[in-house]
């Protein structure tokens, strides 16, 4: 039964995954923390950090991680496959009806219309992670400092994450 729920949850996530990466986080959070309670909020934050630290799309990382936690290797396989399933179906559909899709004005309009949604969802992800993960002044300083360094391209984002992690080890004793 757990495999069926994994299938349902990650097919839904795959179907609504617009805008990539961070914009999909609120959707993942809704399914795996709120609806199915496979992870606690703290575990979800750890998962997001882990996904940023490791290669690959965040949604794939989340699917594998959650699937494995809940249903072992087979669970990981089901969750990851279910996330990819809508993509496979769309690609097959599009390759049959390419002329309907390519340069289609309505599709273009929808894509443009989705931009505000994507930005709203990304902000929601950032806000909810900040709300649960930034608890003291040291975290605020780390956040502002990382933002400046990464925005000015003075440091590689992954390296910044590792550095901040070590700062945490030193400070939070």
């Amino acid at each position: 039964m757990i495999y069926f729920y994994l299938f349902l949850a990650f097919t839904r996530i795959g179907l609504l995954a617009f805008g990539g990466g961070i914009a999909v986080l609120p959707l993942i959070q809704k399914e795996i923390v709120d609806t199915y309670q496979w992870l606690t909020t703290t575990q979800f934050l750890d998962l997001v950090t882990l996904s940023e630290l490791t290669p690959g799309p965040i949604a794939i990382n989340s699917a594998t991680f959650v699937g494995y936690r809940v249903g072992g290797i087979f669970g990981a396989f089901i969750a990851t496959g279910s996330f990819c399933l809508p993509s496979v179906i769309f690609i097959l559909f599009i390759s049959k009806f390419l002329s309907l899709f390519e340069g289609n004005e309505k599709v273009q309009k929808i894509m443009k219309g989705l931009r505000p949604s994507v930005i709203a969802l990304m902000s929601l992800a950032g806000f909810s992670i900040a709300q649960n993960g930034i608890m003291d002044w040291f975290a605020v300083v780390l956040c502002v400092l990382s933002f400046i360094l990464v925005w000015r391209k003075m440091i590689d984002p992954i390296f910044m994450l590792i550095l901040a992690g070590f700062a945490g080890i030193v400070f939070y004793r």
């Binding site: 995954a17 799309p57 994450l161």
Partner: protein, 182 residues
């Protein structure tokens, strides 16, 4: 005929190896892997030309799913049909799959380890900062009109304050895009 079959097998092998490498070495997925795919399949292996690739890229963004997966699948499908589609997606997902299972196992064994908890406590504020840089760089390009800016603020409030499911946020954006004059 034999040559054709051999060639197809060759392409499938190339697809798997290329997308496995791309999956293993791009952080953040999506747009980060675009230049890698281009270098690997267009410039080095010459399996498609730049126009084909740009075309595929724009289509990959026009349906749901991870952009990395969609691009891999479209490239695979174009070059070797359905088997190519599956192999390309499988190749690009496999590295994350292996790494995350290793990470989940390690985390499980060391959960409650103070050192690890402190590491995450420090790293999470940096994750928030990364997300903020992502939002700013996309907003700078995409929200050129005041209407878009107001709409994204409104959608944010709907989701945060009124708890709207992301589905509605997506749907409202898509519908306003359809309705308004460009």
């Amino acid at each position: 005929m034999d040559i054709l079959i051999k060639r197809k097998r060759g392409i499938i092998k190339v697809l798997f190896v290329s997308f496995f490498q791309i999956g293993a070495f791009t952080w953040g997925g999506g747009y980060a892997m675009v230049p890698l795919i281009q270098r690997e399949l267009v410039q080095k292996k010459r399996l498609m030309n730049d126009d084909d690739f740009i075309n595929i890229l724009s289509i990959a963004q026009s349906f749901p799913g991870a952009i990395a997966i969609n691009t891999a699948g479209l490239v695979g499908n174009r070059l070797a049909g359905f088997p190519g589609l599956l192999v390309a997606i499988f190749g690009s997902v496999l590295p994350s799959f292996i790494i995350m299972i290793a990470a989940a196992t390690i985390l499980y064994h060391f959960s409650g380890l103070a050192l690890l908890e402190r590491f995450f406590r420090g790293a999470i504020p940096a994750v928030v900062a990364l997300i903020a840089t992502g939002i700013f760089s996309i907003a700078k390009r995409a929200l050129k009109r005041r209407f878009d800016l107001i709409l994204s603020g409104l959608l944010f409030v709907l989701a945060l304050v009124f708890g709207f499911h992301p589905f509605w946020i997506i749907l409202i954006g898509a519908l306003t895009g359809l309705v308004r004059k460009s």
